[in-house]
Symmetry: C2
Subunit: 173 residues, 2 copies
């Protein structure tokens, strides 16, 4: 069972990525406590485009409807990252996990690509049915994570874990 | 590498245990946010006997100094549980983990015996060096957990996880 594989050919600079995300979060803060988020894609006619994609799955329409990258990202390094993707992303979000916090154990409807912005070796995915415990390093690589398997992620480190999570309708490219 | 083994011969009733703990927590609430605690053993001359054992390891003297079980527990089911232990417990605590919370990844100086009071299958220990993901069920059995290995525990379920954690100076009995 493969839950995680990486794409190393996108040539993303981890430092530029971190700076671009930090600058964005100054203008648009993360929402929610503990498991914090900001939406980077929205539905074409969104009234709350930075946050509507952060609501829980049962409260929103299909991920496939969240197709639009914020116009504000054009010209930023984050915008460049979107341009380099080898797949069509949907409902992309910045997902941040504070120290001593974890997600509820769950399955996603679709697999995801994860790009770690800041993390530590003590922030891990746990695939509970398979006993797999894996870390996504902030190395500029894109990691395909098959989150259709029952999983959680916890942050047992001292610093916040920030991932960009790209949704996809497709199997791994 | 064995990180967890159980003692099934103590004949602890999970329902009576849960009631006894609930009654105690009404009188002495858990301290701290998210990763909450109450000390069941204290030092002989303690001025704050219910809470001094809850402080972080670096702020207290050796676990071996926390030898006294609260007199208030005599006659309660929790007191009976202490009487049945096949080892001398030290610095025993009630440790509660709220949903969506986890511990920092760490090693303890000594192994521990865990007795789960309330939990779910989605509350797990994670031994990060060995990739082991284990659950301690609330079945009235005492589980020896070798927490000298680097580990965390996370609560990915919907309900609070409450364990009684008995310290021990000794290897498994």
């Amino acid at each position: 069972m493969t839950v995680l594989t990486s794409r190393t050919d996108l040539d993303i600079d981890p430092d530029k990525l971190r700076e671009s995300v930090a600058s964005l979060l100054e203008r648009h803060p993360l929402a929610f406590e503990g498991t914090r988020q900001l939406a980077l894609q929205h539905r074409p006619a969104a009234t709350d485009p930075w946050y509507e994609g952060c609501l829980r799955q049962s409260l929103i329409s299909s991920d496939s409807d969240f197709t639009e990258v914020h116009a504000e990202l054009r010209g930023s390094y984050l915008g460049e990252v979107f341009d380099r993707l080898p797949f069509k992303p949907i409902r992309t979000r910045i997902m941040a996990l504070d120290p001593k916090h974890c997600y509820s154990v769950h399955r996603d409807m679709t697999p995801r690509y994860h790009l770690a912005v800041t993390t530590s070796e003590h922030a891990r995915f746990v695939f509970v049915e398979h006993g797999k415990v894996v870390n996504v390093p902030a190395d500029g690589n894109l990691y395909y994570v098959d989150t259709r398997h029952l999983h959680s992620a916890f942050n047992g480190g001292d610093d916040i874990r920030i991932h960009i999570v790209f949704g996809t309708d497709n199997e791994q490219k």
